[in-house]
């Protein structure tokens, strides 16, 4: 024993000592626990907690891990599960990630998670470890991760700090995902001043597994071994979970240790392959990744979900830094670690696979039926707790809710006085300015840093409306003469902070509707939802109102659309000082397509195809890109939500894809019709000639953000069938023009003509000019 650890030993707080000195002062407030919470811990234990127990309760009862402010609201996702979706849910909310049945013995698991605060402190590592964390969640379900996506928000594109944060975040997302060999198939990037001191980095991962291979986080069977494997435990991110997530990031910046974790994507890649080999050999009874709250979380959750008891010898945990004390080991957020429960019979096979992959694996404890989680350190008992009280029975708060004082004023000011472009020339310059604005400009400066090809199953990737990957594997090919499957899954993420600020209920539904529409546009049928709820402080009643309205909107919306929420993540305390970010629920929708060769891409490639606009266009500019870019204005109401119309539109798009009636489709969202036309032309090879319908104002026609719309390119030979289908289903379909290979421009007849070369320059140069 080294002298320093001998010295530490005398400082170890044991259960025995805690029993003797129940009134000793403890720094529970500094650890983020409230007076009443500390009192409850004492009541549960019948004594004061040891310092190790205190560390565990503080991280497990933090906002981030316990969902104490959001739980009462999130319950709605379960209560309102649409009936038609109940039987596809193999694993619902509450596990590491939800699992849905996609037929043919396949299942899909997917989830989105935030890593906002760490990405502000150290953009590259923060974003990288965000990707690493969500990938481990998916892996934990027993799935092979098959793709990632990233939804990003930054301060103004030209702000100096954005030049620090954005390139770092992008290299972190790319560096980690690329190194894992996971294609990045989509995401979002948006800029707004409220994100300047608080960027949002939300990462999504999707994995595929067989329905009979689902793994759960539970420690079952007395006598089974608890194995910690992967990276060694170091001092990184100590206190990260509780401190970063339960107090505003600014306030504690100086007093606490920097909670920076450095990711090792190579270690994670090896860990993934190692786990998949272990799963294939069916060697674990339970498994859990180590994320926020590290060992505290893994041990308590496994124990709570299983037989109920576990004994751990903390001395056995392999350390990177031998000076760590038990409290630190329990709170460390070192990356690339997993914990498995393995029967004694399977242990040697398990260890052999770890050895093959050069993964450190150590038995640190055993499952028992004592109903207690106990831990020893240097021979002394330092933890003795009922695990459920940490994992499931944390505090639950009904936080005060109040509609923001300025909400009425905000909604009442519709910006009716904002000057609108009236002439063709003015419309043209508006169009150019919008397409070059950072929110609408080409994102390839970012997405070219992401590998979209690896694994060889990417059918669609950014900038398509949804990413799409083929679902196939060696087992399928072995059963089907070496042919790959044609089954595919599609994914899109969307969020709109401005709409949500104007009306959180409608704004959240608009984000849901857009992701749903994006998936359907590619020809896939929407199936399930994940969400990442990025909000300010839950202690601010105005923020809590935004939150509760948004959750209600999502729950109602999912019920109406018939797609269940399978999981997600809540990120509170996104604020600078007391100014919260725009409320930003990000919705991820998963869809399914039987035959990936039938997918509908967005590019305009076919000369002479007829261009149809589906849906209704109204004068809706509340929260629009136009108001933001041209006037810096936010007010009024967001576009109206009509989820029945969204369902109808989706049905038409899916049928059109299946029956081969359309060759290209693109949904309408930020920036309206003009932006969609520009994106489809620039992605493809043709221009378009567009006619403004007689009774419509050209400005509204081109830039309104009415929801429930898409454009499609229909071959002349299919025109009658297509319009008949729309008529029969009562979906408005207006012919608005034709694709023209010779034109090489967007020509809005009677208004203006914009050559594609000029458009491309404006669109493509914005981000490179800003970020190099």
């Amino acid at each position: 024993m080294t002298p320093s650890s001998a010295a530490q030993r005398s400082l170890i707080d044991t259960v025995k000592a805690a029993k003797k000195s129940s009134d000793a002062q403890q720094p529970y407030r500094e650890l983020g626990l409230a007076d009443n919470e500390y009192a409850r811990i004492k009541e549960i234990l019948g004594r004061r907690p040891t310092s190790s127990e205190l560390a565990m309760y503080s991280v497990m009862w933090s906002e981030h891990c316990s969902y104490k402010s959001s739980k009462v609201h999130l319950k709605q996702f379960g209560d309102k599960v649409p009936v038609e979706a109940k039987d596809i849910l193999l694993v619902g909310m509450g596990e590491n990630a939800g699992v849905v049945d996609i037929g043919d013995g396949w299942a899909v698991t997917f989830k989105i998670e935030s890593h906002n605060h760490p990405s502000y402190v150290e953009p590259h590592q923060g974003a990288a470890t965000g990707v690493g964390g969500i990938v481990r969640d998916i892996l934990t379900m027993g799935a092979r991760p098959v793709a990632v996506m990233d939804s990003l928000r930054f301060g103004p594109a030209n702000a100096p700090d954005t030049a620090r944060v954005l390139p770092g975040v992008v290299s972190g997302v790319g560096g980690y995902g690329n190194c894992l060999g996971l294609p990045n198939i989509g995401g979002e990037v948006a800029f707004d001043s409220t994100y300047l001191g608080n960027p949002l980095v939300n990462a999504l991962c999707v994995g595929v597994l067989r329905t009979d291979e689902i793994k759960l986080a539970k420690a079952d069977g007395p006598g089974s071994k608890v194995v910690l494997f992967g990276a060694r435990t170091g001092g990184d991110g100590i206190g990260g979970a509780s401190v970063l997530a339960s107090a505003s990031f600014e306030a504690q910046g100086k007093t606490k240790r920097p909670a920076v974790q450095v990711g090792d994507p190579f270690a994670e890649k090896v860990l993934i392959e190692c786990c998949l080999e272990i799963f294939a050999a069916d060697l674990v009874t339970g498994i859990q990744d180590l994320g926020a709250a590290g060992l505290s979380c893994a041990t308590t959750e496994l124990a709570a979900a299983g037989t109920g008891g576990m004994a751990v010898d903390l001395d056995l945990a392999p350390l990177r830094d031998e000076t760590l004390v038990p409290e630190e080991i329990l709170m460390s957020e070192s990356q690339e670690r997993m914990m498995a429960v393995v029967t004694p019979k399977n242990l040697s096979a398990f260890m052999a696979i770890c050895e093959k992959w050069d993964v450190t694996a150590t038995v640190i404890g055993e499952v028992n039926d004592s109903g207690r989680l106990t831990m020893r350190w240097h021979g002394e008992k330092i933890v003795d707790v009922p695990p459920r009280t940490l994992a499931h029975e944390g505090p639950v708060y009904q936080r005060p809710i109040r509609r923001p004082y300025d909400q009425d004023a905000l909604n009442g000011d519709h910006g009716n006085g904002l000057p609108r472009p009236k002439t063709g020339e003015k419309l043209r310059s508006t169009a150019l300015k919008l397409i070059a604005s950072p929110n609408l400009a080409d994102k390839s400066w970012i997405t070219d840093q992401y590998d979209r090809y690896v694994l060889g199953n990417t059918v669609l990737a950014q900038p398509e409306d949804a990413g799409m990957v083929r679902v196939t594997d060696e087992r399928w090919r072995a059963e089907h003469d070496g042919e790959d499957s044609t089954l595919g899954l599609a994914l899109a993420t969307d969020g709109n902070g401005r709409y949500t600020r104007l009306d959180p209920y409608a704004g959240a539904q608009l984000a849901l509707a857009e992701a749903y529409r994006n998936v359907a546009t590619t020809g896939a049928r929407p199936l399930a939802v994940t969400n990442c709820l990025n909000f300010g402080s839950p202690e601010d009643p105005a923020v809590m109102w935004q939150f509760s309205e948004a959750v209600r909107g999502i729950a109602d919306g999912c019920q109406q659309l018939g797609i269940p929420v399978t999981g997600g993540n809540v990120s509170f305390y996104n604020q600078t000082g007391t100014s919260p970010i725009l409320p930003t629920p990000v919705l991820g929708v998963l869809g399914l397509i039987d035959d990936v060769t039938r997918r509908t891409p967005m590019a305009f490639d076919q000369d002479g195809h007829q261009l149809y606009l589906l849906g209704d266009t109204r004068d809706e500019f509340g929260g629009s890109e136009w108001a933001y870019v041209m006037h810096g204005f936010l007010g009024g109401k967001p576009p109206a939500v009509d989820l029945d119309r969204e369902k109808l539109l989706a049905d038409v798009l899916i049928n059109a894809s299946r029956d081969g009636l359309v060759d290209a489709a693109h949904d309408l969202s930020d920036g309206g019709l003009f932006v969609a036309l520009a994106e489809s032309c620039l992605r493809g090879t043709t221009g378009v000639r567009v006619i403004v319908p007689d009774d419509v104002d050209p400005f509204v026609f081109l830039f309104s953000e009415s929801a429930g719309r898409a454009i499609v390119a229909v071959p002349r030979t299919e025109e009658v069938r297509f319009t008949d289908m729309c008529t029969a289903r009562r979906l408005p379909a207006t012919r608005i023009g034709v694709l023209d290979v010779l034109e090489s421009a967007i020509e809005v007849q009677g208004q203006f003509r914009l050559p594609l070369a000029e458009l491309r320059t404006a669109w493509a140069s914005t981000l490179p000019d800003l970020f190099g």
Partner: protein, 220 residues
């Protein structure tokens, strides 16, 4: 061949299969190459590329056998990370360094096949233009001027980038071969251009049919 950290190994297997051959997965830790007749070293980040791309992988037990095989004429194709491994193993001259713009780049890349006589390119025409994905962080090909001149003079530049140089490679070199023409290193990824559905083209397939032609004389 799979090293710890290989990423495009499954894609290489698929490309070999689509070309009509039987792919055999090899593990870096196994010294024996069993009875394979050609080896593809796939893309990826072997050992995380932490020291230098390919620097650690080249010491794998299996690499010794690949080096021996290559010297005896066995066709070996190194793609991306595999190219880096071949340079580190001194089967090919020069080295690959960080892209000049210091970012990872993923794009559909136009290439010109300069040498259509190697074991891996005999199904192309010299001068043929193809489009295949390119994705790398350390793809800048460098060598001293004498080496570059010799490569040019001997026709050992296999493929060259067209359009903007994506990574700062000297003389826009995308791929090279050894003197015997059996070992080829290529930075772009032909194995990702073998299916209409998932690639920008099917231009990459001919790398894999070339080696079949070379080995068994059956044009696929």
């Amino acid at each position: 061949m799979t090293f710890p950290g290989s990423l495009d190994d499954r894609d290489a297997l698929r490309a070999v299969r689509l070309a009509g051959a039987e792919p055999v997965p090899l593990w870096h830790g196994e010294k024996w190459l069993s009875d394979v007749v050609a080896v593809v070293l796939p893309g990826g980040f072997s050992y995380g590329d932490y020291l230098r791309a390919g620097a650690i992988a080249r010491f794998s037990p299996a690499m010794q056998s690949v080096i021996d095989g290559a010297k005896n004429g066995m066709p070996v194709l190194g793609i991306c990370n595999g190219f880096q491994v071949l340079c580190e193993a001194h089967l090919l001259p020069g080295a690959l360094i960080r892209n000049d713009h210091r970012k990872f780049v993923c794009r559909d890349q136009r290439l010109r096949i300069e040498n259509a006589e190697t074991a891996w390119t005999n199904q192309y025409e010299a001068g043929q233009e193809i489009v295949v994905p390119l994705k790398n962080g350390e793809g800048g090909y460098v060598a001293d001027p004498a080496t570059l001149d010799a490569l040019e003079a001997d026709g050992r530049v296999v493929a060259r980038y067209l359009g903007d140089n994506p990574n700062g490679s000297y003389r826009a070199i995308a791929g090279i071969t050894n003197e015997a023409g059996n070992v080829v290193g290529l930075m772009p990824h032909p194995e990702h251009a073998v299916e209409e559905l998932t690639g920008p083209s099917t231009d990459g397939l001919a790398f894999f049919t070339s080696v079949l032609q070379k080995l068994v004389g059956i044009p696929a």
